[in-house]
């Protein structure tokens, strides 16, 4: 499951960024790291950028970038956007901020960041 597959109002926990080089690095720098909690605030027109709330910060990412961030949906309101306009309606709980410091796995250990280990060495190229 990636951010690109989530509908407006869906909450998620970041599992891993599967993009390399600049795009992957930028996403991690902005907080898309293992264990970070987020919310899809809104999706743009005709597959335009997605507004994502990470902690207290709102960010915009393109669908192609969102497709490179593996997440675990939290609230069970996962929706597949359909057609050119995506969804007209907003499901689940939209518009709420998420607390800082939310994390999954071992993310909060001081000095020991969370990390998904070993087996899934999957990586994608971020060529346009």
């Amino acid at each position: 499951m990636t951010i690109a597959m989530l509908g407006e109002g869906s909450e998620f926990v970041v599992e891993r960024v599967c993009l390399c080089r600049e795009t992957g690095r930028r996403l991690s720098d902005m907080g898309f790291t293992n264990g970070a909690r987020g919310l899809i605030v809104r999706r743009g027109f005709f597959g335009g950028p997605i507004q994502v709330r990470l902690g207290d910060c709102d960010l915009m990412i393109r669908v192609s970038e969102a497709a490179g961030v593996d997440v675990i949906p939290v609230d069970g309101t996962v929706m597949q956007p359909r057609g050119p306009f995506g969804r007209f309606w907003r499901g689940g709980r939209g518009g709420h901020g998420l607390g800082q410091g939310g994390h999954g796995g071992r993310g909060g250990d001081h000095g020991r960041g969370a990390h998904g280990r070993g087996a899934h060495g999957r990586r994608r190229n971020d060529e346009a």
Partner: protein, 724 residues
């Protein structure tokens, strides 16, 4: 330049002077803090060799001098963007006494991410928890002391716009510098697996003392694990560089395999993990406000269906307000320069000097200065939009469309500014952080038909398409937009091919702009415009004056007699005044034909023949490089209707219609040709200043070729279709 170049001059034998670098993420309120710290004592320049703006300021307090350098706003210390490279090179090369890191308290985790990278550089850091009032209002309670203890970095709470806590920053800076640099030894711990890889790298790096003095070993070791290209380049200066590079390569490969993801992502995740731990200890979120004004506004402004229409509406309003408010001051300035020209004419005897001063200098420079009110208003409105936080919303609304053509959402404002004037538009492209996005945006801006091209379009549209004049002008504007998008698409697939730049943009909450911030933006941009355009326009006005004046033409008595007789044959009974006015026009026309500009026009005529152009259009094209609206007045002279022609004058329209060479098809070819060929000298000089000679040469060749091909295609295909 070394550290001493930035250190403030200290005349008294008081405490030693301090050099502080002001750094932080974009939208952290850094400019407000910089202004509060330095007052009016600052100057603006560029970092050597790049167009990244550098601001320096100074302050004296209690007998101590402080020098501040404002570094570009960045999110991380990677080497991907120019701003990041400038920041890290500055910090490494000049080693300021302290880094004052301005952070947004409402979004602490992400701001601490950069703060910890500064700490690794080994330079003492003072953390500024700015916008602490906003954080309080959001129920975010930050225990600054606890944060200091966990991270080993002194923290100061501030509210930038109210100047709250600003003196506290200087107190903390004093303490850190006087104590010899904060709490040493504290820095991010990356977990055992990574620390085990960092330790041998650090030891190896420290073996060359000179290298280690320049590049802190801990920071360098982390960068090498992150596969940072610039760090590997710097290794060439280390005595044991080759071995260290091999060791670093092995270590990062081990991390890639062990964690199953890129080592640079692993390092950044560990850093965030460390931050989460710190934030957990020092920050309590008590309650969430039920209502968010930003969210309420965004529900409308960023609505899927409304975002784009609202953006177009905002833009339209900006241009409407600019022209409505700017009209009168512009007319006053034009009047003032007109008066000045008249006064100089009255004082000086007729001759070359008077012609140079009145037509060349005052006319040319006056043309630019009369645009200043428009520029001030335009920049003011755009700065309001920027400071309020609307620019990122505009990027959200337009990125999908622009990205399809290889542009970036942030290209939209520079491009739209291009409808006003290319000079500020090209300068505004600096907001684009990726060099390729910036280059492509700058190269297509001139296709957005600027205000000076409008009189040319209006002249031809009114003369040859009287029933559809407005539609024809709109058509030319639309052709410009299509060409801009098409050229961007083409350039991104040929000369500017490469990876797409990530569109990971922050969406800051809406904030009220501060008066000092707005005044600063407007002043800086206007000053830049006047300096850039003023100097180039002055030079080009004088040049165009020279090539249209020399070699001088003196009509013989016989020629004058023949012209007089010809006019009288056409208009028997004309008054002496009409005759002398006619003779003056004829002399002006012949003088221009005789001048260097006329010679150039005739020389390039064969190249223009496929477009259906004669030498007169060649001359108008050449003089148009001074400013595009000059095309109209040049044609006025060449068609013998007088030297004061404007696009509104019926005389020139009739003269054009009366010329058998002119057809609606030729007029349309000329409109498109004027739109596409290289812009005026001022815009070209701005392209050179921003991108260098190589890209200027490319832009000139690209636009000339495209303009010629399109003009020729319109004329030839139209002629074949029988439209001529």
């Amino acid at each position: 330049m070394k550290r001493d170049d930035y250190a403030p001059a200290s005349s008294s034998p008081g405490p030693r002077a301090i050099t502080a670098a002001l750094a932080g993420n974009p939208n952290a309120g850094k400019t407000t803090i910089f202004n509060a710290l330095t007052g009016a004592h600052h100057k603006v320049g560029n970092y050597p060799g790049v167009t990244v703006e550098k601001r320096e300021g100074s302050r004296v307090r209690n007998g101590r001098s402080y020098g501040f350098i404002d570094l570009p706003g960045i999110y991380s210390l990677t080497a991907y963007s120019l701003d990041e490279v400038v920041t890290r090179d500055f910090l490494l090369d000049h080693q300021p006494d302290v880094i004052v890191n301005v952070m947004d308290s409402t979004n602490l985790s992400r701001h601490l991410y950069l703060c910890l990278q500064f700490q690794e550089l080994g330079i003492p850091v003072v953390g500024v928890l700015n916008m602490s009032d906003e954080a309080e209002a959001k129920g975010i309670r930050i225990d600054a002391r606890a944060l200091e203890d966990v991270l080993g970095i002194p923290m100061v709470k501030t509210v930038g716009p109210k100047n709250d806590g600003v003196e506290g920053i200087l107190d903390a800076v004093d303490r850190v510098v006087d104590s010899g640099g904060g709490a040493p030894g504290k820095s991010v711990r990356y977990g055992d697996e990574i620390e085990d890889r960092l330790a041998p790298l650090e030891a190896a790096l420290a073996s060359d003392a000179a290298f280690a003095a320049r590049f802190p070993s801990r920071w360098m070791a982390v960068k090498l694990l992150e596969k940072d290209g610039h760090a590997f380049e710097k290794l060439a200066g280390h005595a044991d560089g080759t071995r260290i590079a091999a060791l670093a390569g092995e270590s990062s490969s081990w991390i890639d395999g062990h964690f199953g993801k890129d080592s640079e992502i692993v390092v950044s995740e560990q850093r965030y993990g460390y931050i989460r731990g710190a934030v957990k200890e020092a920050v309590k979120v008590e309650r969430k406000p039920d209502f968010s004004l930003t969210e309420a506004i965004d529900k409308v402004v960023m609505n899927r269906f409304l975002a784009l229409p609202i953006f177009i509406g905002v833009l339209w309003s900006v241009f409407q307000i600019t022209f409505a408010l700017g009209e009168h001051p512009m007319a006053w300035l034009e009047g003032m320069f007109g008066w000045l020209g008249g006064a100089v004419s009255a004082v000086l005897p007729e001759g070359l000097l008077r012609s140079l001063l009145v037509d060349g200098v005052i006319g040319g420079v006056g043309g630019v200065f009369s645009f200043v009110p428009l520029i001030v208003i335009l920049f003011f409105l755009l700065s309001v939009l920027e400071d309020v936080g609307y620019m990122s919303r505009a990027a959200f609304a337009t990125d999908k469309i622009l990205h399809t053509f290889g542009l970036h959402g942030q290209s939209v404002f520079p491009m739209m500014l291009g409808f006003g004037c290319s000079v500020p538009a090209i300068m505004a492209a600096r907001t684009l952080k990726s060099p390729r996005d910036r280059i492509v945006t700058i190269l297509v801006i001139p296709f957005m038909s600027c205000g000076a091209k409008l009189p040319v379009h209006v002249l031809f549209a009114a003369a040859f398409f009287p029933r559809n004049a407005a539609n024809m002008v709109m058509l030319v504007y639309a052709i410009g937009v299509v060409l801009a998008l098409g050229s961007a698409w083409l350039l991104k697939r040929t000369v500017l091919r490469g990876e797409a730049t990530p569109f990971v943009m922050e969406l800051p909450p809406y904030r009220a702009p501060t008066a000092s911030g707005l005044a600063w933006h407007v002043w800086e941009k206007t000053k830049h415009y006047v300096q850039k355009a003023g100097t180039v326009i002055l030079a080009s006005s004088v040049l165009i004056w020279a090539i249209t004046t020399f070699p001088a033409y003196e009509p013989s008595a016989a020629e004058l007699q023949a012209a007089r007789a010809g006019f009288l044959a056409d208009r028997p009974g004309a008054t002496e005044e009409e005759i002398s006015s006619r003779l003056e026009t004829v002399v002006a026309e012949r003088a221009l034909g005789h001048s260097a500009a006329g010679t150039i026009g005739k020389f390039i005529e064969p190249a223009f023949r496929p477009l259906g152009f004669d030498w007169k259009l060649g001359v108008a094209t050449v003089t148009g490089f001074a400013a595009k609206e000059v095309v109209v007045s040049t044609l006025g002279v060449l068609y013998s209707v007088g030297t004061e022609e404007s696009e509104e004058s019926e005389g020139l329209r009739e003269a054009l219609r009366g010329d058998p060479n002119w057809t609606p098809l030729l007029a349309f070819a000329m409109m498109v040709f004027t739109l596409v060929i290289p812009p005026c000298f001022a815009a070209l000089a701005t392209i050179r200043a921003e991108l260098g000679w190589k890209w200027l040469g490319f832009a000139f060749a690209f636009m000339t070729t495209l303009g010629w091909v399109l003009g020729a295609a319109i004329f030839q295909i139209g002629s074949l279709a029988g439209l001529a």
